[in-house]
Symmetry: C2
Subunit: 360 residues, 2 copies
């Protein structure tokens, strides 16, 4: 599995003229090394050479974890400077072109740039992201199972005594339910009740869920490293007329977005169709974010479902469709499912009910 | 408080010839902006100009959180490219010298370097770390309270029915205890039993704690953003002779390290004295890490207590003293306290018992 991934990345490196990649801990590292290294001031890095071979540079403390990768290790002690060792390995090429992982700390990049002043530097993601964004059947199975577990948590949420519970207390309950479902841990949980729901990234706090509140609930956790991410909006007691109208528009827009997904459609077209429905209802001003984001080893990764993207969707891509409307000072509505592109369209990896849930 | 911090940083920027700082989300940002921004592919950045003024560049979704900072905001929408806006603000200086936060993603640094080809780039930490590493009395009070809560958790750990419990189950229990103590959350928990304790960064797993096991237990959580971090080693049932001998050497070394701390002593001298005691006992080969690390808004931050450091300790610095001995295939011992440098020496922020705890 890892050797196939490396072969696909190397092919793209060759086409892009990249001699080597330097990847710190994070999703690219995990994708190619098969385990996730610990990000800290003690640098662990995977170096991949286009013309063959890869090396993991690892601090002595972290070496036991790295041994499982099966890659050659260069273990550095606390008296060594790992950037010296990495620079020396890269110097076998004269003035190499080096792709650097998106999330490598700038401090380490500066250290490499100082040591290799003649090198050319570029982002490694141009050769890794196109490989990572097409999920294998094993990856899709993990994402499908993670999605089903998130759906099961939603069912449990609707059975909780929500009225009077604070946003923060509901977050804690959802966290416990995610763990109880057997996910690796809690990725994130956001609860925004009433006017707080109108801020898409609201920090959940002390507000109790009150009668008449629309409540935006967004959460997920990984399974085998692969994320889940679902949003539903419910109402405590009967929803007002405006709330119901906005909810229906968002629900329809989400349906339109999902139906637009199929191979060869541009990501921007999916955004455009989803947005058009909300615009037509006069709510476009309040749909203040993109329609979706890819997900896999990262919660947010390519492809991004944004207006300006001409990227063509391909079978095996996995991303969210999550339109929302946020009316400042009043309430918000968002509905989010993860989908995987199939030959004929897409499969939803979330199947919790999308009708408005009313908590009596 | 923030204005004092900014003034101290600006003074150092002037001395270092830095025109501006660009800080992404993380501890430097939190230290200067007073709140922690969300790190994601949607860049939030604080730009500080040496000659006055600061701007937070924030995606529209995150703007509500940033408003509390009181700093001028430039809110970017999903159709804008924040690096364009940041580059434009930096261009008011001709060929500026720009300090970049240690943890800014390389992807963003590349984007800035492309847009400002004449700029000089350097690490912002050279002007921020020396300010951040001297803690104010309010910061010390948070660290002291966080340390006391970690100590209280240790007392509770020793009262658990540990024999037969898996490492992973004990981690879960400690996580719950940290939250119950009122810490902001779980920073990390590591439990290594028996031979697993010989890997300082062991991933806790399915091994049950067995009679005769030495168990290395390391954990902490933040309070108001400021971390705690304590390690103790206990034994399930009576310890063997070798285990008791190693434990005593580590305990004495830790005591020697703590007693060596006072203003004007070099960090490397504290490491040397601690290490010398372990070396003298013939165990130096197995003390495979530094003696300590600073802590505050980050779990690991300057000053580092490492052999090669000539940095002089100063009043208000906060760091760990945590010697350890790791005998491969057999067991490990580590004892860690956080200390704050005082005029006459140091104050320990952890006071859980340091004698060997034997669980009967």
């Amino acid at each position: 599995m890892l050797s196939e991934r490396l072969a696909m990345v190397r092919e793209r490196m060759r086409d892009a003229g990249m001699d080597a990649l330097v990847l710190g801990p994070g999703a690219d590292y995990q994708y190619l090394a098969g385990y996730d290294a610990h990000a800290s001031e003690r640098l662990t890095a995977l170096v991949v050479f286009q013309d063959g071979g890869e090396i993991i540079f690892v601090p002595r403390l972290e070496a036991p974890g790295a041994e499982d990768s099966g890659f050659p290790l260069i273990v550095w002690t606390e008296k060594q400077q790992p950037l010296d060792l990495i620079a020396a390995a890269l110097q076998e090429h004269d003035a190499p072109t080096i792709g650097v992982g998106d999330h490598l700390w700038s401090r380490f990049l500066f250290g490499l740039q100082e040591r290799l002043p003649a090198a050319r530097w570029c982002t490694a993601s141009t050769v890794i992201a196109p490989v990572r964004c097409i999920k294998s059947s094993q990856e899709i199975e993990l994402l499908r199972t993670a999605g089903a577990k998130a759906d099961a948590v939603w069912q449990q949420v609707t059975e909780l005594p929500l009225e009077g519970m604070t946003e923060r207390a509901l977050c804690d309950q959802i966290s416990a339910l995610l763990v109880a479902q057997g996910l690796d841990g809690v990725g994130f949980v956001n609860v925004g009740a009433g006017p707080n729901g109108a801020s898409p990234h609201h920090d959940s706090g002390a507000r109790p869920l009150q009668r008449g509140d629309m409540v935006v609930i967004d959460y997920g956790g990984p399974l085998g490293g692969y994320h889940s991410d679902i949003t539903r909006t419910l109402c405590i007691g009967e929803a007002g007329e405006e709330e119901r109208r906005v909810y229906e528009i968002v629900r329809e827009a989400q349906e339109i977005g999902v139906r637009a997904v199929r191979p060869n459609v541009a990501a921007g077209e999916v955004d455009r169709l989803t947005r058009a429905h909300i615009d037509a209802a006069g709510l476009g001003e309040w749909f203040i974010h993109r329609t979706g984001h890819g997900l896999g080893l990262e919660l947010h990764e390519p492809p991004y479902i944004i207006a300006e993207s001409g990227e063509r969707l391909r079978e095996g891509m996995v991303f969210s469709i999550e339109p929302g409307v946020y009316i400042p000072g009043r309430f918000g509505v968002r509905i989010e499912d993860i989908v995987v592109v199939t030959p004929g369209g897409c499969e939803r990896l979330n199947n919790a009910p999308r009708e408005l849930t009313v908590i009596q």
